[in-house]
Symmetry: C2
Subunit: 220 residues, 2 copies
């Protein structure tokens, strides 16, 4: 009974807020690395990120990296630990469907490469877009998705289509072997439980900001 416990992989009890903070740690660590700083303490990181120092310690502990009392964490070691944990040091190739404004913006946005993700092709049903390139990324007919995804072993799909066709595209992606879908439409996609959905609701942050702004204006 107890043996089992040691054999079975721990079921990933890492809090999502922790995972969300980790890229921020990486940002700071990369800057420190560039400044040839060798060690950094949790309170130092905490000050720069406006979070609680013990929070930082806890978050870092999930990577398995340990620090030294009165010294802190080795900057390079911590970078390695975080990138390993987040999978940023692996290569993730993704297909994007919907080469409109938002889709094009994501293609032009170079930054994802730092996280190991590369959009290798885009797909659309608009004849005017098919055959063009955005930031060096070719835009194909959606028809070609299945064949290319299979041959290139693509597991990540990005949906930046109009909301009205999002579920349809998601269904197709699932059938074509996609394991994780990054959804930028405001639709709650229904997919089998073994497929990961990551929603990015552009309005959510805007809503929070406008709400806070309204609260301040009411006080006056």
């Amino acid at each position: 009974m107890e043996l089992q416990n040691t054999l079975v992989k721990k079921p990933q009890p890492v809090p999502e807020p922790t995972v969300r903070r980790m890229p921020s740690y990486l940002t700071i660590l990369h800057r420190l690395h560039d400044e040839h700083v060798l060690f950094v303490s949790a309170p130092q990181l905490a000050r720069q990120l406006n979070v609680d120092p013990t929070q930082v310690v806890k978050d870092i502990s999930y990577t398995g990296i340990t620090g030294r009392t009165r010294v802190g964490y080795g900057v390079d070691e911590l970078i390695g630990g975080l990138e390993e944990f987040l999978g940023f040091n692996r290569k993730h190739e993704a297909f994007l469907v919907g080469a409109g404004f938002l889709g094009s913006a994501l293609m032009q946005y170079q930054g994802f490469r730092e996280a190991g993700m590369k959009i290798v092709a885009a797909f659309d049903t608009d004849k005017k877009k098919i055959g063009t390139e955005v930031a060096g990324i070719p835009v194909f007919d959606l028809e070609k998705f299945r064949d290319l995804a299979g041959r290139l072993h693509i597991t990540i799909g990005i949906i930046t289509t109009p909301a009205s066709v999002a579920q349809q595209i998601a269904d197709l992606m699932v059938g074509w072997g996609i394991k994780a879908i990054w959804n930028f439409t405001p639709i709650a996609l229904k997919v089998p439980s073994n497929v990961i959905i990551q929603d990015t609701h552009i309005y959510a942050n805007l809503a929070v900001m406008l709400n806070k702004l309204a609260a301040i204006k009411e006080e006056i």
Copy 2:
């Protein structure tokens, strides 16, 4: 003593997760409105959004809109209540600093107008960008920010600059009367407490997705 309680405005105890979900409700409600549906129940909304029905009821209760047993909420009334609560029915004009890929993408992205926000001008220090237009929005020299913001009474600033100058831009914005900053850089900006900071960390969602994806692959 108790009088005070009735006079003093309630201190906005609306949970942020609630505010973040509200735009999703609006998305569905707008579709229902277009389909000429007059009423919708909390369980119906909950099913479409994959959230708990009681969660929906609680979230909606913050808008002050009440539903009718066995009928649900009036679609139009609820749209009005949510938009009023979120401030989406007001006009919010914003200035954007940093007309690079990300900044241009935000300018081209029409969707924010549905939330009442309009980017009326962009600013950059790059001579090649100054004088151009992106999606009909003019790009000015950063020098002109102060004057224009004052004259147009702009209260929202969007920062899409390189991380290295983000704090600098934020300091300028604060000095120029900006009350809310939507920050797309990975920097934790330091501003006076009366200025609202809304961070959108592009990597955070990606990190969560890659992390889940890695967890699934480990299981195999």
